[in-house]
């Protein structure tokens, strides 16, 4: 059963991937009111230069040739050359990506650990202060734009108190590994702390609601009746039961947190891919912006696929055939 499920899911994903590629070609290449020649066009250019540019970008060729080229470029991750730096986009990606991954992964790990702990604790203490805290922070963070919290933390801790640097990624030369690491930690600390404060609430809320659902099940009653203490019930019975949806959510939310880094990096000038994306937008660096958009899409696609697959593995109840 699980094999069929996997094959079907994989096939769907491939179809979706193909459709998205076509959509991007249509949206970014055909419908885009600004064609690649105009991107770099200067009023001083002579028609000959414009023609050369058109030839370079393949605009002068029939649409199906452009389509073929576009597809093959995208599939081979040949993402073009940045207008601004004249470097291949994939090279810049390798420069920027580690910063974002460091930020996003660290923040995510702390968010999840803190959130799940609070959520489990809140579920075991219904109606107590910790429960109100978990529910409250979950609801509050749903209603709060992340940029507001990020600005608040930057304002209070970087601008007013001066505990943290204002500008993110400016590092001295990495001669001394210990020094470099120290500076890295010093500069990444505030964005990570802020992201954790923004994110843990929803994890706590989610975990709490899942756990409460589980806690009403009969087998929990049985465990309780056998005299298992509360902590053990939470860890041995509730936690394993809520693990599949939580793992799924982790996988699904990873790409989303990655897009969230657009705002984070914009505010903290943390030069990862989110900052790069905004910078490409502002400077009109279309190849970089398009490539990043493509990568974001692939990440979402892979994230969704992985989540479904993991869910299939973790939760044996998932079957394809439930749909008639």
């Amino acid at each position: 059963m699980i094999g069929r499920y996997l094959v079907k899911r994989l096939a769907t994903t491939l179809v979706i991937f193909f459709v998205i590629l076509n959509f991007q070609f249509l949206f970014l290449w055909v419908l885009n009111p600004i064609n690649p020649v105009q991107w770099v066009m200067d009023p001083n250019f002579t028609p000959e230069v414009a023609a050369t540019l058109a030839r370079n970008y393949g605009i002068d060729q029939p649409l199906y040739v452009q389509y073929y080229k576009y597809l093959s470029n995208m599939l081979t991750l040949n993402l073009g050359v940045s207008f601004r730096t004249q470097r291949p986009v994939s090279e810049s990606l390798i420069d920027y990506l580690p910063y974002t991954l460091a930020l996003v992964l660290t923040a995510m790990i702390f968010q999840i650990i803190i959130g799940i702990t609070i959520g489990l604790y809140a579920a075991s203490k219904r109606g107590k202060l910790i429960d109100i805290f978990a529910t409250g922070s979950g609801l509050l963070m749903y209603a709060t734009p992340s940029f507001l919290v990020l600005l608040l933390f930057r304002y209070v801790f970087a601008e007013q108190l001066g505990w943290f640097p204002v500008i993110g990624t400016i590092f001295s030369s990495p001669n001394n590994i210990a020094l470099y690491l120290g500076e890295y930690l010093y500069r990444i600390a505030l964005p990570v702390i802020t992201l954790v404060c923004i994110g843990f609430g929803s994890w706590a809320f989610y975990t709490r609601n899942l756990s409460i659902d589980v806690l009403t099940q009969d087998y929990i009653q049985t465990a309780r009746a056998k005299g298992t203490d509360g902590k053990k019930v939470m860890l041995k019975h509730v936690f394993p039961a809520i693990l599949p949806p939580i793992v799924t959510r982790i996988v699904i939310s990873f790409p989303e947190i990655l897009f969230g880094s657009i705002v984070t990096e914009y505010i903290f000038t943390w030069k990862g891919i989110g900052w790069w994306y905004m910078n490409s937008i502002w400077t009109g660096d279309y190849p970089s912006a398009q490539a990043l958009f493509y990568i974001f899409t692939i990440l979402l696609l892979v994230g969704n696929l992985l989540a479904d697959v993991l869910y299939g593995f973790l939760d044996p109840r998932v079957r394809v055939g439930t749909r008639r």
Binding site: A143, F147, L148, Y155
Partner: protein
């Protein structure tokens, strides 16, 4: 009639039953009140806003809110004051001062009426005569950011006399008086008889555009004034002359008639005299001197439109797709669910950003995209609910009795998924508001609209972080949070009713 009446009755009973239950949730009531307040502000905001959101220089750039003057040490901060200048005659009784309506002038200026102060003088000799009109006022704050004085004058110089006009400011202090000439002009016989004068002192570099007629800092006239007042060019004019104390503003006319027994009339009108303070209104001003409170009030409407429109449209779409694909199943179901999978793989914020770059930064384009990208979760949810309902015995009974598909969809399925759809709609409002705010915050919102996100973007770009203008940076954000929390609260209370599992089971 009867059937409709019964249906209405059932509906009313349902709603009142729901309300009875809803009323018990404190959070729900608070949320409802917040939403009502928000809708009120959104509808009436423009009429209760104290200023036009785009009027610049209401006060100094980045002025503090007025409540900040309650903090120790801030009591003396300069307010923006507009003096109602009422002239009084001083010194001799050689002239008559009167306030009158001038019909001819009104016609000339194409206005309903113009009030002029007329200084009428009849000379008995050819000696130079001085007429002074005075306006006394006291100023009780610290040096203002700038003060502005503008007026128009004209002279009905029947005798073709030579004359001199001067406006000066006198300060009374313990050492006596100090006078500062603000403006003066000499006119020989036959000089221009009508003109306007503007004086403008602005104490910080970088005067905003729009005041071309005023004396600008660093301009030749400003240096001239400083020279006359014996200030060095680095000294601030206002710090030296304008602080708490009693002042008088004097308009002096000196006439040297050509012949005895001639009349001379000087008129001053449209006299504006105001100071720009560094404290302003409820929430201060932004870097262009615009009233932040009014801007926030205007922004509420856009947030409401975005939130409600997006939520309604995307929920309708979700309901349509979810109900039809869940009920009909088969190929329609497969296609719509794959569409859902497909759209879930498009990143919304990056897509909105890219669209803003490629096409116009239009609110409606952004809203359309948000609608198209936010119905999928709802459709999935509604579809699974429809699948459950479809299997329920009463629907099977309806099928067995030969009810048509549209009938079952209408009478059995829709009423049962409506609460779910409604709850989805309530939660879509804040997420639509937040995504629009994020887009505006990144500087990619509609450039013609004052939105909350845009105010925060301007605050960040305008240096609110470094100038510690927290009221500018955070008040629009607090507005966003309050509105969204209202909807989240209502949704929380609502979910408690339609999904009793979540309700506290003690």
């Amino acid at each position: 009639m009867g059937a409709i009446g019964i249906k209405l009755k059932i509906m009313r009973a349902r709603i009142s039953g729901f309300w009875q239950e809803y009323r018990r949730s404190k959070v729900g009531i608070i949320g409802l009140l917040m939403i009502v307040g928000f809708v009120f502000v959104a509808v009436f905001g423009p009429s209760i806003a104290p200023y036009n959101p785009d009027t610049e220089m209401l006060a100094a750039p980045v002025s503090m809110p007025e409540c900040m003057t309650m903090l120790p040490g801030n009591a003396n901060l300069p307010r923006s004051l507009t003096f109602d200048v009422k002239w009084a005659a001083e010194s001799n009784d050689a002239f008559k001062l009167q306030l009158k309506e001038d019909g001819g002038l009104a016609k000339m200026l194409k206005r309903d009426k113009v009030n002029v102060y007329s200084i009428l003088f009849e000379s008995g000799s050819t000696e130079e005569t001085e007429c002074k009109t005075v306006f006394n006022f006291s100023y009780n704050y610290g040096p203002p950011e700038s003060f502005k004085c503008s007026f128009r004058w004209r002279v009905l110089n029947l005798s073709q006399a030579g004359y001199n006009l001067e406006l000066y400011l006198t300060r009374y202090n313990e050492n006596g008086t100090e006078a500062y000439s603000l403006w003066d002009s000499n006119f020989g016989p036959g000089s221009p008889q009508e003109s306007e004068a503007y004086l403008y002192y602005f104490d910080i570099p970088g005067l905003p555009a729009g005041f071309p007629k005023y004396v600008e800092l660093g301009s030749g006239r400003e240096i001239l004034y400083k020279k006359r007042l014996n200030f060095s060019s680095e000294e601030s004019f206002l710090d030296q002359t304008f602080f708490s104390g009693d002042y008088s503003l004097t308009f002096r006319v000196r006439v040297k008639p050509e012949s005895a027994n001639s009349t001379f009339e000087a008129q001053i009108f449209d006299f504006n005299f105001n100071t720009l303070g560094t404290v302003h209104g409820l929430l201060g001003t932004d870097d262009k001197g615009r009233d932040i409170f009014s801007r926030i009030l205007y922004g509420a409407r856009i947030s409401l439109v975005v939130g409600l429109l997006v939520a309604t449209l995307s929920t309708s779409l979700a309901l349509l797709v979810g109900a039809i694909s869940g009920y009909l199943g088969g190929i329609i179901d497969e296609i719509s669910m794959r569409t859902v999978d497909l759209l879930l793989c498009l990143p919304l914020l990056p897509l909105l950003i890219l669209t803003a770059l490629m096409f116009n930064r239009d609110l409606y384009i952004a809203m359309t995209l948000i609608v198209l990208m936010s119905w999928m979760a709802g459709a999935r949810m509604i579809r699974s609910q429809v699948l459950t309902i479809r299997e329920s015995p009463y629907v099977e009974a309806a099928v067995a009795t030969g009810c048509s598909r549209p009938y079952i969809l209408r009478t059995h399925i829709l009423p049962n998924v409506l609460p779910l759809a409604f709850s989805y709609m309530i939660l879509t409002v804040p997420s639509a508001i937040l995504i629009e705010a994020s887009l505006s915050f990144l500087g990619l919102g509609d450039p013609s609209l004052v939105t909350w996100g845009r105010i925060i973007n301007e605050a960040m770009k305008g240096g609110a972080l470094t100038s510690h203008a927290w009221w500018w940076l955070f008040s629009p954000g607090i507005a966003i949070v309050l509105v969204c929390i209202g909807f989240v609260f209502v949704s929380h209370a609502f979910d408690g009713i339609i999904n009793p599992k979540l309700k506290a089971r003690q």
